[in-house]
């Protein structure tokens, strides 16, 4: 006999891409579903659903998290940045420009996660080495590009000094 638990909602207040948002969410609601279905921010994508592929990556208080396994209630009181918030109005973020220029985008399904992960890396370490960038991206899978052009695009946005290896 299966028992369906009764769930009650609670109110959360957070900032999403700079705007304050107040929402009623069920305790088991995932941040990814709240962003995609409630806030219509579709840039974060569902792929592996178990914190392996990085397609759902968003930044919470500047740190990359997998929204597919992050409870919406955990985001209460925090700042969430999604790919929709990267550009400044019509002005793309340099990482977005570099992804286009370097051909780092193919099907585009991994792109939002890649961009936000790269954003976090460069905020932490402005001039990472190529090997460091590759290592940092280990949790972001891409089935199309073979990663090379993604790494090139990120390195093009890094401050000089990271070396060539």
């Amino acid at each position: 006999m299966n028992v369906i638990p009764i769930r009650s909602s609670s109110e959360i207040r957070l900032t999403v891409n700079g705007r304050p948002v107040t929402l009623e969410v069920r305790p088991e609601a995932l941040l990814l579903d709240v962003l995609r279905d409630r806030l219509q921010l579709k840039g974060a994508r569902r792929s592996c659903d178990m914190q392996v592929c990085g397609a759902c990556t968003v930044l919470v208080d500047g740190a990359p998290v997998s929204a597919c396994t992050y409870l919406a209630v955990e985001a209460d009181g925090r700042e969430v940045l999604t790919v929709e918030g990267l550009a400044d109005g019509d002005r793309l973020d340099p990482l977005q420009e570099a992804f286009i220029e370097h051909g780092a985008v193919q099907c585009g399904f991994c792109t939002a996660g890649m961009l936000l992960t790269a954003k976090a890396l460069l905020a932490e370490e402005p001039s990472p080495s190529p090997a460091r960038v590759a290592e940092y991206l280990r949790g972001n899978l891409c089935r199309c590009t073979g990663y090379r052009k993604i790494l090139d695009a990120i390195l093009a946005c890094a401050a000089p000094g990271g070396g060539t290896r």
């Binding site: 088991e28 579709k42 592929c53 397609a55 793309l92 051909g103 193919q106 399904f109």
Partner: protein, 768 residues
Amino acid sequence: MPRLHVDRLRSGDGSEDEYRVVERTGLAAWDATTALTVVGRPYPRVEGAEKVTGRACYAGDVRLAGLLHARVLRSPLPHARIRRIDTAAAEALPGVHAVLGTHSAPAIRWYPDGLLFDRTLRFVGDEVAAVAAESEETAADALRLVAVEYEPLPFVVGLEAALRPEAPPVREGGNLVGPPKVYARGDAEAALREAPVVIDETYTTQTALHNCLEPHGCTATWDGERLTLWDSTQSVFDVRERVAETLGLPEHRVRVIKHHMGGGFGSKQIAWKHAVIAALLARRAGRPVRLMLDREAENLAAGNRNATRQRVRLGATRDGTLTAISARIEQDTGAYLVGGEGSNTSAIYQTLYRCPNVTTEQVGVYTNTGPAVAFRAPGHVEGAFALESAMDELARALDMDPLALRLRNYAEADQRRGRPYTTPDGLRLCYERAAAEFGWRRDRRPSGQGSRRRGIGMAAHDWGGSGYPPGYAWVKLNGDGSAEVVTGTQDIGTGTRTGLTQIAAEELGLPLERVLLHLGDTATGVYAPVSAGSATQATIGPAVRAAAAEARRQLLEAAATMLEAAPADLQLREGTIRVAGAPDRALDVADVTRRIAPHMIQGHGARGPNPDGKAVRTFGAQCVEVEVDVDTGEVSVLRVVASHECGRIVNPTLVDSQVLGAVTQGVGFALMEERVVDAGGVVLNANLEEYKVPTAPDVPAVVHARVDRPDPEANATGAKGIGEPPLVPTAPAIANAVFDAVGVRIRHTPLSRRRLLAALAAHRPEPA
């Protein structure tokens, strides 16, 4: 305008006559001497901004009022009959709007011998029931309330087990998909008996999972008797046809749209059950329905690359001339035949080398696991691993350079049809470019330090990629001198939008920004075939060019009147029309279109036929260097040089991307990817955690040594396909390099640490 000829081919034997349709465009092909300004340049993707901002719309992103979420209940058993199914509790759950199962769904035929919801289930993951509910959570809750009583049936997993005489039958009639497919030219058995050097080995390849980052799925909505489906598919027209047929709707009432998709790699080249299930749930609920597979379902029930076992025999003379090729191939079809492009593992044995005596025998085997479907160069990847490994073994047996052996034997003609290739030297060029860029040296000795050994290896391939008729496009010029191109093809992530826009802009003499291409919609687009077989650019590119040429002709005629010149004296470049020799007599394209607006210039284009009497083919060769750690069994691919002949390169960035991505998938296939099924028929790694795909640190340095040479006999653009081929030679090149490094031959993919360590242990001489 393309001219359509229909010939009646009278059967003469009472069966129905057939018709042959040929559409000729009369366009002279762009050859190596044609000066092109837009085609050939590395333009960034035209949809890049949509994708980096998150705006790009995928199948599960469509916003619709009242959208419901669907989930599918899947069989927990590898083979069973449903004795009883009760969905009453699920239906009664608040928030549930529709439930479908064997007992309640219409009896829609699926697979050659089953139903959409069948009482017999043949693999873990087979569809049992489906629900649509207000939220994902409610849908999941409802599935738990479906009560099913299963009668377990005997089952079989794996090729070898399924071929045993006492194996439980996957379906009545046994486990062979059909009689073996046999091909023969000459007499391979006799040639093998006479050959002074013979290789006779058996190779196996694993079941691999596509793992597109976007799973299969769709959103469906009804408007009265009209159905719209946003599907993640490689073929909007095939989905429309299948859905219309199964639901008994006329095709014009079904609209299939695909704006963007998160990869397909062959797995989305057919209409899958989810599209029909979503449509049925939406009709029953009277609300739109989204049905996206989760990762587990994706890896159980949305296709795979079939495992193979291949016994390969090669015969050669002492000077290294191939005299015989024989292959006996068994492949694991899974539980059902799903259609689409089959895995033709035999093909590469028949075509890659010049050889008078060739026999192939290929048999598909049913097992109680998820069905196989095309996966990027289906069959060729599997066949090349065995054939190109065997060629390396032959080179060793002859004490010959593997490159020299291949240069002596590669084919310059299609021996199956007795036709020369349009580029008979295509493969030679690839060998030469790859070897030169890599620094391939016969006399090079394996090197190493401590437990690490380095070695080099190579492999080659051929592939179709010619494109084919039919395929259509329209071009319309707006009053402001901008142009729109409309076609029913789809961009599956490869860059089709960009490549086709370049073709149109080139022919129209317009800058790229003044051309916009629409695709992926059956309601607005003209027919184009499935995006598969690396054929899209070579199929639709010429159709787009033909449509643009027709618009250009009308544009120049109108301009000629305005400029009081003959159309033949006009030049069109960068959006400006000039009278030759009179630079001051010029008009912008917009000056012409504005003056005639709202009358409109339109061009219609069709894909012309492939050349008569010749065969169009693509080729490639790759050289790799690996490092093997003999203590851990770990193989690292250090560098890959890839050279591929795909005709004219329309956009070097896009082609480089196909090569890099395919080589990376090749590294995954060679070293890490493998679906693992336990003795109970359960897939142990139906997720992205335990099914390993290459990550950023796994990727070697890849150099694409481009062969950018138009093939004007192939079609009017001179471009051929590149999407699949660069995956084909990577795995055998790696296996050959591993042998070079450590002297053990691994005849099974993936070349896992476990396999390597076992082989190294067996190879080591017994301690005295």
